[in-house]
């Protein structure tokens, strides 16, 4: 590993550590999973213990898009706009079976999984997922952030 790489890996781990414990999430809540999101975010199963408790209701200030519930075809452009308006680096969690794959609704109205519209990092199964599953999904995202490579502009990396 050339000297430069040694320097950047230390910095990348520091960056990953900094980002994973200060996730500001934008709760894009539509349907029944919103009730489980409320339980996960509130006092009993507190999401704040993982540094992801602060909800930002504007995509400009959020770096984690939490898509909670069913996304219908009428709502798809809204989801696409909100995702595009988020600033890099951003991550997306598909929360619940409907966001993951359309769930029990396979008909003319529902988008069969939001990864047809936007790239998704973590899929949380369940209809609705229990709050423990939500926290587990969040921890998996934090691992992913910790080991994510940084695209170095001045180092000429793609």
């Amino acid at each position: 590993m050339s000297g430069l790489d040694f320097l950047t890996t230390r910095l990348e781990t520091a960056l990953g550590w900094g980002r994973k414990y200060s996730l500001f999430h934008y709760p894009f809540i539509t349907a029944c999973c919103g009730m489980e999101y409320m339980s996960a975010a509130c006092a009993h199963f507190d999401i704040d213990r993982f540094g992801a408790g602060l909800t930002r209701f504007s995509p400009r200030q959020a770096d984690l898009l939490l898509v909670v519930g069913t996304v219908t075809h009428k709502l798809a452009p809204v989801l696409k706009t909100v995702y595009d308006q988020m600033l890099e680096p951003k991550w997306v969690i598909a929360f619940g079976a409907c966001a993951v794959s359309g769930g029990i609704y396979q008909n003319y109205a529902v988008v069969q999984g939001i990864d047809r519209i936007i790239p998704v990092d973590i899929y949380i199964p369940g209809c609705p997922p229990r709050p423990e599953t939500v926290l587990d999904g969040l921890m998996k995202l934090q691992d992913k952030i910790q080991h994510q490579k940084q695209d170095w502009r001045w180092a000429g990396k793609p």
Partner: protein, 114 residues
């Protein structure tokens, strides 16, 4: 004089380093959707802001009044110990005058929007 230049130097350097780090580390992917205003995900109904209404302007003026007042507190606070009673009197009149302006605006009904 040295402390002054030193402090300006340090703070200037600090700000500069932060800006450079931000430019280097933040990946940048330009996206046309970021230009349009965020209206809860729906397409905006109106392009650009029309004429701004008077009540907004008056409240902004009031905010300016209180904000500038706070800015003048800092030097007073620093020089407060050795000014003794005179300093307190100066601060008191300063606050009083601005409070009068605030109460006048209040009575003229800036906050009643109906």
């Amino acid at each position: 004089m040295l402390e002054l230049t030193l402090s300006f130097l340090v703070f200037g350097l600090l700000a500069g380093v932060m800006i450079v780090i931000n430019y280097c580390l933040g990946p940048r992917k330009p996206n046309p959707a970021r230009e349009i205003p965020f209206e809860c995900g729906s397409p905006p109904l109106q392009s650009g802001i029309g004429p701004v209404h008077i009540p907004f302007f008056l409240v902004a003026l009031l905010f300016l009044l209180i904000d500038v007042e706070i800015v003048f507190f800092y030097p007073l606070a620093l020089a407060f110990r050795d000014r003794g009673f005179g300093g307190l009197a100066a601060l008191g009149t300063f606050i009083l005058v601005l409070a009068l302006g605030f109460v006048y605006a209040w009575k003229k009904g800036i906050f009643r929007w109906s």
